[in-house]
Amino acid sequence: MVEPHDDRLRRALAPLPRERTMLLPALLAVQRELRFLPLWAIEQVGRHVRVPKSEVYGVATHFPLLRLEEPGETVVKVCTGVSCRVNGAGKLLAELQAALGVELGGTAADGSVTLEETACAFLCSVAPVVEIEGCGCGRATVERVLALIRERTAEERNGEAVA
């Protein structure tokens, strides 16, 4: 669990100069550590780069990749841009929703998977594309995507067991 005054947050911010120009790099560094930006972290980022927390909040809510809520363990993004749509993304999305039992934009009850759509994964030449925690899966089929999600979940669990 993430707690206020987390050491990880301090470590993430420490290398960054305490200037306003570092606001976006600071938010990205914190999100890389915590997977999202809780309000207390937004306040600490503001203190670090000397920007009022209201303005930090404004920036944090402006950029689509910054998250204010904690996502599931594995974020799956289905590309529904034009190239993927005309290559079967709609059907793939429906199949994934059914197989995972998660609505678009939702997280599985056990917190394992969050399912989202993206306007482009920028891998249009191997459409349709699904991103699993930022790793692209091209010429995607529902079977391959599910296998990759299982692989990633297993790795995460093993990683935790070792740690």
């Binding site: 120009t21 689509p64 034009v82 749509r85 030449s125 191997v126 930022g134 091209g138």
Partner: protein, 540 residues
């Protein structure tokens, strides 16, 4: 020879010659998404097990994404052969074949005639291209500065720093006619000159690698495949402008390109090609990589400056223009990745050579991603002035499955739906068919223009930053009309409203997102009116 040229010659000596066999795997974003990582692993295992003197390189994609996973086999004294459709299973035979000097199955193209494998000049996908920026993709090791130097990278930089005044660099690029590749087509040298001539200092170079337009992935391909070409172009540009600091702003999701670029910069810095006193010339430039966090508006140059300064990425009013009042109020030249990547070749080969490619109005080449319902999706580099017919049919192999062509979406949410009647118009900026930012999506006869336009309008409505009213209010209103049309609930007055809204949004929006955001709607109302009107009529 000058100090600079001596320093470069030292680097060339250290680079030496490539020895042994090199397997360069097309491990760009596209290749990795279809199993290139497993192919790298299988090749390395086999090389170790068979005891072959060979290295396995994680390279970029040469643009033939349709044939991924690609592997190029480079062996001294033999033509380079590029294989398509390689799997971990077929990797073993590839190694055995290379060791025995024979050709394995799946050979797609060869660098010289050998046993009936087509050469680039004979290969339908490659024959129509003019590969300047892409010449090393899939051949060079993007992770090794010395491999780049073996291929001649940084030679132009050494020539420039060894004896060319910044004004002469600007004059050369001006004579070459290089125009910006980020969409606005502004002459690069005029921008540099503007920043250089400002009395204000310091000056900055801001490299726009935000590339957030759906359907456009050309800058990613370029940097994943040959990052040192961009670094070299950046340093030359900074020298021409007189910039002591450069910021490269990389899209927040372009992870692989950002990693390869950062690695390339660190190597270049270590060898004195970036940073203090470049190649002993006395010229210094610090380069910093910044990352984005999504949002199409971020690619708008003034919004990008706001993000760098620590604000929301919303556009600024122009004038003042960035060359006068840019980052932190200082003169700033903002260039697209592809624009800067052209610079080394212009200086190495001369402006006449460059101007001979393309058309009189638009010189050089354009990188274009071709995707959608196309037989050979990939990333191509074509001379400016190429027709859509040549691009889509000759190079791209036509519509997938031999179906009929409905339209080509050029430039995504800020672009046009182009009908087949315009297939033979040469593409260049300012013409009836423009190359746009570099993403063409082919639609076959099963696709609905209305559905595509709705997808693009939904994107624009989501991405509008909210700063100016016409875009913030107009985009959702246009989407609502399109929704009514799609649901069959529209009447004739809706089409009038759509036309009127589109005109207002185009004329009155502050930045390009709004000004160009109505283009897909306007172009499809012009060319595919039947689809829109048909829904209305059917309801009566």
């Amino acid at each position: 020879m000058s100090t600079v040229q001596n320093r470069y010659a030292d680097l060339q000596v250290r680079a030496g010659r490539a020895e042994g066999i090199r397997f360069v795997v097309g491990a760009g974003g596209c290749g990795l998404a279809v199993g290139a990582g497993d192919v790298v692993g299988a090749l390395r295992q086999t090389v170790a097990r068979q005891g072959v003197a060979a290295v396995v390189v994680e390279g970029g994609c040469n643009g033939m994404c349709y044939a991924a996973v690609l592997v190029s086999v480079l062996a001294p004294g033999r033509p380079t052969i590029t294989y398509g459709g390689v799997t971990p299973e077929s990797a073993a035979d590839l190694v055995a074949a290379a060791a025995a000097g024979r050709i394995a199955s799946g050979a797609a193209v060869a660098s010289a005639p050998i046993d009936g494998v087509p050469t680039a000049a004979e290969h339908p996908f490659l024959a129509g291209q003019a590969r300047i920026l892409s010449e090393l993709w899939g051949l060079v090791d993007p992770g090794d500065l010395f491999d780049a130097i073996r291929h001649g990278t940084y030679l132009a930089l050494a020539q420039v720093l060894g004896g060319m005044a910044p004004e002469a660099v600007i004059a050369t690029v001006k004579q070459a006619g290089l125009i910006g590749r980020g969409g606005a087509s502004f002459p690069a040298a005029i921008k540099w000159e503007g920043a250089r001539n400002q009395p204000n200092a310091p000056k900055y170079l801001l490299v726009n690698f935000e590339e957030g337009e759906p359907g456009v992935y050309k800058d990613r391909h370029l940097v994943e495949g040959d990052p040192h070409r961009l670094v070299e172009g950046m340093v030359i540009a900074a020298y021409a402008i007189g910039a002591e600091r450069a910021v490269v702003f990389v899209n927040g999701e372009a992870e692989l390109a950002a990693e390869r670029l950062q690695h390339a910069l660190a190597q270049a810095q270590r060898e004195g090609l970036v940073g203090q006193n470049v190649l002993g010339s006395g010229f210094s430039v610090d380069v910093e990589v910044r990352r984005g966090a999504g949002g199409y508006i971020l690619g708008e140059e003034t919004a990008l400056m706001n993000a760098v300064e620590g604000f929301r990425s919303q556009p600024r009013l122009r004038p003042p223009f960035p060359v006068e009042f840019g980052l932190w109020g200082k003169p700033t030249a903002i260039n697209n990745v592809e624009t800067l990547a052209n610079v080394p070749a212009i200086l190495a080969n001369g402006p006449e050579w460059f101007a001979a490619v393309g058309t009189a109005r638009a010189t050089g080449t354009k990188l274009i991603g071709i995707s959608g319902n196309i037989a050979r999706p990939g990333l191509v580099e074509i001379p400016m002035g190429t027709t859509l017919r040549r691009l889509i049919y000759d190079i791209g192999g036509g519509v997938a499955g031999g179906r009929e062509l409905k339209a080509i979406v050029i430039g995504g949410p800020s672009g046009n739906l182009v009908p087949p009647s315009l297939l033979d118009v040469p593409m260049e900026p300012g013409a009836q068919v423009i190359p746009g930012t570099g993403g063409h999506i082919v639609l076959d006869d099963r696709q609905s223009a209305l559905d595509v336009v709705r997808t693009l309008a939904k994107f624009n409505a989501q991405e509008s930053c909210g700063k100016c009213t016409p875009c913030r209010e107009g985009m959702p209103r246009m989407l609502a009309v399109l929704d009514r049309l799609a649901a069959g609930q529209a009447d004739a007055s809706d089409l009038d409203e759509l036309r009127e809204l589109a005109e207002i949004v185009q004329a009155a929006s502050l930045c390009g997102l709004g000004q160009m955001g109505a283009l897909p709607i306007q172009s499809s109302l012009r060319h595919f009116a039947g689809e829109f009107g048909g829904r209305v009529m059917g309801d009566r």
